[in-house]
Amino acid sequence: MRSLALRTVCVLALLQSFAGSAWAQGTLRIGMTASDIPLTTGQTDNGGEGQRFMGYTVYDALINWDLSSATKPSDLMPGLALSWGLDPAEAAKTKWLFKLRPGVKFHDGSDFTAESVVWNLDKLLKNDAPQFDPRQSAQGKSRIPAVASYRAVDPLTLEITTKSPDATLPYQLAWILMSSPANWEKQGKSWDNVAKSPSGTGPWRLTGFVPRERAELVPNPGYWDKARVPKLDKMVLIPLPEANARVAALRSGQVDWIEAPAPDAAQSLTSAGFKIVMNAYPHNWTWHLSRAEGSPWNDIRVRKAANLAIDREGMKELLSGMMIPAEGFFPPGHQWFGKPSFKLEYKPEEAKKLLKEAGFTPEKPLVTKILISPSGSGQMQPLPMNEFVQQNLADVGIKVDFEVVEWNQLINIWRAGAKDASSRGGTAMNYTYFIQDPFTGFIRHLQCNLAPPAGTNWGNYCDPEMDKLFDQVRNTFDPKEQTAILQKIHEKYVDDALFLMVTHDVNPRAMTAKVKGFVQAQNWFQDFSPITMDK
């Protein structure tokens, strides 16, 4: 009896899946690199990947990223806010006004208003608010350091005051996702319950998830941007942290799409008929150099020599072509790239000459210690890549010893700074950066007053000239003028060889030929709405 019932259920399920695929655009199953389903309540964890799959899918920010183009770096665009700008009536340039999008509804049917934004900001910033959520706050608070206060002027107008004039506020707000206050009330004011049935305004609705196993998203037909209502029936997210497991899952048809296939598997995947999609995005793989007293990297000749010693084309071979050789701190072609005069080319002879001037030769090399991690979000293939760099540097007269620490420990050391004992005398660390806006891209690495423990200027770099440029960025509200200053900053980054700039990731993903319509934006985040699945 029981087995009969079971069989009936199976048959029904089978029928249903046939029916589903016959009528609409199918189900897309994605193998993520995260080991768990990212936090579903709004502000996600698991870094850029969490925001990509559980953030901008289920939720919107006031200001979104424009993810529609594969050919140019993506820029900000109106999200839940229609327009924004400084309050012209205020001279201090710290008061911003946001016109909100009318008629937007959360998935639970409640209205999105300026009060919802205030409620969400309180959720992250106000410790004594009833809806304050330490988990989301931990993820979101440090994203908006500029915000001092905020209020709803009317249901569709929001006012935000910054601590000091800061033109980077829109970039900061692009991180902050809006969850539904009404849903939180409905779920008994418990974020644990909200996690199970969350509600945002985004193009996708979360219909269910099993921790560490899978999450299912379906389209939100009432999404405010009709052009971005998803075409698929369903999107399934599956955490597959192990690189080989992802490849195997794709090959055996368990998933249709995997993030970050191992480079060595790429060739066999292509020959087995899978597509590898990749594109530049604001990411870099660098050695962050210490500028503390006694560091050999204080000598610009050593910094330039190291940058000239790297065989970036050789590394491309190592990564089966899945990288973009660095020409600067930002990927070539980026709107902030500017025209640096120092070219990052492979010139070992010139590097040797520079090092000789600085007093080192391959026979009498500079010996120094570098901190690296065996894995980590965005670190690409850190072990072989660092070993490769090590070989390159040894050829010109820099002998590198690695101190390998766990990824999370490396983050700790990164926060503690090069002068801290935890850095164990390391003079550089291999760190990959999310460089999507002026703050994360430039300011946080090198501003004097952001030296640890105040910030993440790990190497204790301090140059008044650079600080002046950073101040200008914050005080320049005209986008064009701001871009010009950012270009100047980037030129200084490259010309002074402030980092060992090695490569940019291309965010490779492998998928079956059935996946259609995906446009890989030059961004950490992606739009899944236009995707369809062939039969």
Partner: protein
């Protein structure tokens, strides 16, 4: 019998207490900040202190242990730092998956192990014995994570017969006993069975040889009783110990499967442990180790009591 069981139970309590101390201390040996995993990369010092206080990591160690133990006794293993979910439910789900895998592996290992061991013990010194010895020594000497890799290379990468990783189609691990799910367990279970197979084969071989050399058996044979009663006698006398070894092996596999589960991405306790170690998720690490160790202690107890009731010759103090 009952008295013996009670005695053993009383004896187990201090061990369990010791286990809890070791589990607790183990994860506090660790360098680094346990909360890094969930703090955003740019968290300020004040924000970090706040989080530490919220998770109770700012209190002295004995106090932390007291609080932890008190909660554990009520079945509360705390909340995972990385996911925020209760550790008890995470471990519970993983133990279920591991138990399926370990049980199947033990069964396979027991089947082949007894067979080889029996043949070897019965025909001591024959080529069969030597073959069985080779098999059993291979079983205990093979690095099982490598064996797993070889299995994947042969049966998944080259032949494409079986899926190499995971516990079910589409990331679903709601385990069912149908082919769609079973094909996922074959490679890890066969790989894992190599360990108990070698050990069980060795044990059974020694047992059988020992029993056959007893005067009693010699007498039976001398009386011309035929091989069947001798065989029955051997089985009856070897079974309790062999079963006991099998029971203990189940415990070892459950706790020692981390490498194999990692190779096959099997969503069990080993995989969970690996995740917990690399995310430095202290409560999850603690909870998983504690549950596995206590499970092992309990299994030992059960095996011990069962064995003494099956085999009256064993007298214990």
């Amino acid at each position: 019998m009952l008295l013996y069981a009670l005695k053993r139970l009383v004896y187990v309590l201090p061990v369990a207490f010791g286990v809890s101390i070791v589990c607790f201390l183990l994860v506090h040996l660790a360098p680094g900040d346990p909360l890094t995993a969930i703090m955003p990369i740019d968290a300020t010092a004040e924000q970090q202190a706040q989080m530490r206080a919220a998770y109770g990591f700012d209190k002295p160690l004995p106090v932390q242990y007291g609080i932890w133990l008190f909660k554990v006794l009520q079945g509360d293993l705390g909340a995972s730092i990385a996911s925020g979910r209760p550790v008890a439910s995470e471990v519970g789900r993983a133990v279920g998956n591991s138990l399926i895998l370990a049980s199947l592996a033990t069964l396979i290992g027991f089947g082949f192990g007894t067979f080889f061991g029996f043949v070897a013990g019965y025909f001591r010194g024959s080529p069969l014995d030597r073959l069985a010895s080779v098999v059993s020594i291979l079983g205990v000497s093979v690095p099982h994570y490598w064996l797993g890799m070889v299995m994947v290379i042969v049966f998944s990468a080259l032949l494409g017969w079986l899926p190499s990783t995971g516990a079910g189609p589409g990331g679903s691990t709601a385990w069912r006993f149908d082919w769609e799910h079973l094909q996922y367990i074959i490679l890890p279970a066969v790989t894992m069975s190599a360990i108990p197979m070698g050990i069980i084969a060795r044990t059974v071989r020694a047992l059988v040889a020992d029993i056959l050399s007893q005067d009693f058996v010699q007498a039976l044979r001398a009386k011309g009783m035929g091989e069947w009663p001798v065989f029955k006698h051997v089985v009856r006398n070897a079974a309790p110990t062999a079963l006991a070894v099998m029971g203990l092996q189940l415990g070892y596999l459950l706790g020692g499967s981390i490498l194999i589960e990692t190779v096959f991405a099997w969503p069990g306790t080993g995989f969970l442990l690996n995740t917990a170690i690399f995310q430095r998720d202290l409560p999850l690490l603690q909870g998983t180790i504690l549950v596995l160790a206590l499970f092992f202690v309990a299994l030992n107890l059960i095996v011990d009591v069962l064995q003494s009731s099956l085999d009256p010759r064993i007298q214990r103090g």
